[in-house]
């Protein structure tokens, strides 16, 4: 009875796996659930048998007589063939799912994703570049991967998919998201210093929202500089640490009315808030720290993560915070 319940639970895919975001995820979980049950039974036989024998045949005296059994052909064939049959069965099952995983759907929405140390960048057909990977729900999406430097691996746990991004060639994966929401994207192939920080969000939105997002993003390029900066300020979540409309301190210093004023650093030096200072503080937050704030600063370094034009836009926006 308990076993049956455990089996049901495992089959339902709730066995420690993350949320199921795609149909493939459900299929993988079914197979995984089956494997879990079979594994549990085999471990029960092996470990349980071992404990049972160990207790039952515990040495009672130095002169215990033991049975002299050298082999038993029937038994040996049995425990070679039964595992083999099970292995072949799960192999075949796995083959079917893997074939689905690797067969790229036609007419899928294609998104180019490039890995580089240590960020992902998604590019859409209409030229939109984005840090988040935004996709419409219930639509086949094909991600075409490559890398600019070393090998990375695009991993979405909730979709049960993973594919290495290899420099010098393209690899691909596909999925059809069934749930709205935000999912983790990790880098799964060791790529150096900030390997563990190389994550991004995969946002599944409705088709309408997706179209809207895509148009808005494509118009960003033609917006005035400061407005573009405001958008970047928002998407990069700068606002979670820096106030822009009042001088109150959040985690980092407020940027309200700072432009052109002098700031005192923790080493006592005075620095004028100008283009080069702001640029440096964004790219290498540890270089100068305003007096009264912790060192090292918790702010992530954006070196290599922002393009020149994005930086200019940000600076233009900060300049205008009056």
């Amino acid at each position: 009875m308990t076993l049956w319940m455990l089996m049901n639970q495992a089959m339902a895919g709730t066995s420690f796996m993350p949320e199921q975001g795609t149909d493939i995820a459900k299929q993988v979980d079914n197979l995984y659930g089956f494997l879990l049950v079979v594994s549990f039974i085999s471990c029960a036989i092996l470990i349980g048998g071992m404990i049972y024998f160990a207790v039952k045949y515990k040495r009672k005296s130095q002169n215990d007589k033991t049975a002299y059994i050298t082999h038993d052909t029937r038994l040996e064939i049995l425990w070679s063939v039964i595992p083999l049959v099970i292995f072949l069965f799960v192999f075949a099952w796995g083959w079917i799912i893997y074939h689905d995983m690797r067969t790229m759907p036609k007419d899928a929405l294609e998104i180019h994703v490039t890995g580089k140390q240590w960020a992902w960048a998604a590019e859409y057909k209409n030229g939109v570049r984005s840090v988040d990977v935004v996709v419409p729900v219930n639509k086949d999406v094909k991600i075409i991967l490559t890398s600019e430097d070393v090998i990375h691996s695009f991993f979405v746990p909730s979709f049960r998919i993973k594919q290495d991004a290899v420099p010098g060639r393209y690899t691909a994966l596909w999925f059809r998201a069934e749930k709205l929401g935000e999912f983790h994207v990790f880098c799964a192939e060791f790529c150096g210093t900030s390997h563990s920080a190389m994550m991004t969000r995969l946002r599944v939105v409705s088709q309408e929202d997706f179209d809207k997002w895509l148009t808005e993003e494509s118009e960003v390029g033609s917006l005035p500089l400061a407005q573009r900066g405001a958008k970047i300020f928002q998407t990069r979540a700068c606002a979670s640490c820096h106030n822009v409309d009042n001088p109150a301190v959040k985690i980092g210093p407020s940027l309200y009315q700072k432009w052109g004023h002098e700031e005192e650093m923790d080493d006592g030096k005075k620095v004028n808030v100008d283009e080069n200072y702001v640029r440096e503080s964004i790219l290498e937050p540890q270089a100068k720290i305003v007096k009264g704030y912790p060192r090292p600063s918790p702010m992530p370094a954006f070196q290599g993560q922002l393009s020149e034009s994005e930086l200019t836009a940000l600076i233009e926006y900060i300049k205008g915070l009056k």
């Binding site: 082999h71 796995g94 083959w95 070393v150 060639r169 563990s196």
Partner: protein
């Protein structure tokens, strides 16, 4: 009876450090390996504790939850942990320590076939180790023990030095393997047919075949990597038209068989322990012997299962998955045979036996999770996550290390001629066994939840399981400290060991403890199999 009271044995016949450094006696070389490998294990173990301490808590901001200075330091520590444990502890572990000492004894030989090569192989390991440790003082390496290109080409650390170090240690491995093959072929005592050699020897023999056939591929791969870094020859560098994935093929063509270099000798040790402490002949001698050879043979054709998501073709994925499944069969055969060996035995719960039973427990879990990883779509999710980390620790640590410890306790009286304290040895087992499960079982769940490996920091939902895992690592450390104390106390002040304290039937127990220089006073003549407990 014949124990050491009468006079000279291999330990006391010569004295002084020089007599050790120039010895050609396989037993002394075994002891030298024992001391040095244990030292490497200590260093690698401290690295592991550092890694676990770092992962104890999420680093929410730069100062909180951080033990190591930054991601680079973490990557270095994890690289050294992996490289030391693989190339300097587990690969030489059982063959070079226990194999060196007991292979000739178990087949009734006076020494290995090439004593000078044997000593040379120890010096190779030392030279490699010194070079590897020297990278501590240059720019430390941060590639992970797998040296994947193109990262290992681009990173600014002393990869060339480390790669040369591993190359030299590979030589050591080749020499040991070559020596064992010839020893088994040529030096068996009268009556010792291939079907009468103990299963530990069968396992070492299969291992030696892999060492000789697979290690050269690692050698050339590492040489090419070094050339790539020094001259930019372009073979693995995509910028020059090379293929970085080719490195993975080459690397795993060695390193997968190397996994069996690590586990096969452990399986051999377990066969010895189970028969001795259940006082019963082994169930299915031939099946266990041939399954070792079978595993060795198949191990050369499964390397692609490390690369299911590397971009290899679907056909390759399917093929490698299939062959990997086949490795499961001989492994299952061994497990069931060991289980059947316990049936109707007379089981004594000594420390070595507890380690052997612990091996069966952990290896069962390591084995079934191995099958899960062989199923491609499931592996796509688990690949490079903590599930894999947990799996190979269950096999390498839960399997091999348990066997090493069990083997040490089993053969300790023979090696040093002294007994150790059973109770404290059993306590070491309790801590290691429980600590191991506490450390690594949560990592299966972490992996299933999607936590990738080699992560300096992680998202907050993984924190609790990481905490448990770190606490487990402390328990393991306590266990090994107890084990160390037990052994040191045994060597220093243990009681004199009798010739055959466990009532074992293999040949090494028919000579004195510790054995004389030429192992046996009179050449033994064998008339029956190795496990005749009638």
């Amino acid at each position: 009876m014949g124990h050491a009271s009468s006079g000279k044995n291999y330990l006391n016949e010569h004295s002084g450090l020089w007599s050790w450094l120039t010895t050609l006696d396989h037993k002394r070389i075994g002891i030298m390996y024992f001391v040095t490998v244990m030292f490497f294990f200590l260093v690698g173990g401290i690295m592991a504790l550092l890694l676990r301490a770092e992962l104890f808590a999420v680093n929410t901001t730069a100062n909180v939850g951080q033990v190591l200075a930054n991601g680079d330091v973490y990557n270095q520590v994890l690289t050294y942990h992996g490289a030391i444990m693989v190339f300097m502890v587990i690969v030489p572990g059982i063959p070079a320590i226990l194999g060196n000492f007991f292979l000739p004894l178990q087949i009734g030989a006076k020494d290995v076939a090439f004593p000078r090569l044997n000593l040379a192989s120890w010096y190779c390991l030392m030279a490699g180790a010194i070079l590897a440790f020297a990278t501590f003082f240059t720019s430390k390496i941060d590639t992970g023990w797998t040296f994947y290109t193109p990262y290992s080409i681009r990173t600014g650390s002393s990869v060339v030095m480390m790669v040369v170090a591993v190359f030299i240690m590979g030589m050591s491995s080749i020499l040991t393997g070559l020596n064992f093959i010839v020893t088994v072929h040529k030096l068996r005592c009268p009556g010792m047919s291939m079907y009468r050699i103990p299963l530990f020897v069968w396992a070492l023999y299969s291992t030696a075949i892999i060492q000789v056939l697979a290690t050269p591929i690692l050698a050339i791969t590492l040489l090419l990597l070094a050339m790539e870094r020094v001259f930019g020859i372009g073979i693995f560098d995509p910028k020059l038209g090379g293929d970085p994935v080719l490195f993975q093929h080459f690397f795993w063509f060695y390193s997968h068989p190397a996994v069996y270099i690590m586990i096969l000798p452990a399986m051999g040790v377990i066969s010895e322990l189970l028969t001795t402490y259940s006082k019963k002949t082994i169930f299915g001698y031939t099946a266990i012997a041939y399954s070792s050879l079978g595993i060795a043979a198949v191990s050369f054709f499964v390397w692609g299962h490390h690369m299911f998501v590397s971009g290899q073709s679907e056909v390759a994925g399917i093929l490698f998955s299939f062959i990997t499944m086949l490795v499961g069969v001989p492994t299952a055969i061994k497990m069931f045979n060991w289980l059947a060996t316990l049936y109707k035995g007379s089981i004594e719960f000594t420390a070595p036996m507890l380690y052997a039973l612990g091996f069966l427990f952990l290896f069962a879990i390591g084995g079934v999770t191995g099958i899960m990883l062989a199923v491609v779509p499931v592996d796509v999710h688990f690949h490079d996550t903590y599930f894999v980390v947990a799996h190979f620790h269950y096999v390498m640590v839960g399997g091999t290390l348990m066997a090493i410890m069990g083997g040490f306790y089993h053969w300790f009286p023979k090696m040093f001629g002294k007994m150790y304290n059973q109770t404290s040895a059993i306590w070491s087992w309790v801590f290691i066994f429980i600590g191991f499960n506490v450390t690594f079982f949560p990592q299966f769940i972490l992996g299933a939840k999607g936590m990738p490996r080699r992560y300096f920091n992680y998202v907050v939902e993984f924190e609790q399981l990481n905490r448990i895992s770190t606490v487990g690592s402390w328990l393991i450390a306590i266990g090994f400290i107890i084990a160390l104390i037990t052994m040191v106390r045994g060597v220093l002040s243990g009681a004199q060991a009798p010739m055959n304290p466990w009532g074992s039937k293999t040949l090494e127990w028919t000579t004195s403890s510790p054995p004389p220089h030429d192992n046996f006073i009179h050449e033994p003549v064998v008339t029956a199999g190795p496990y005749e407990y009638k």
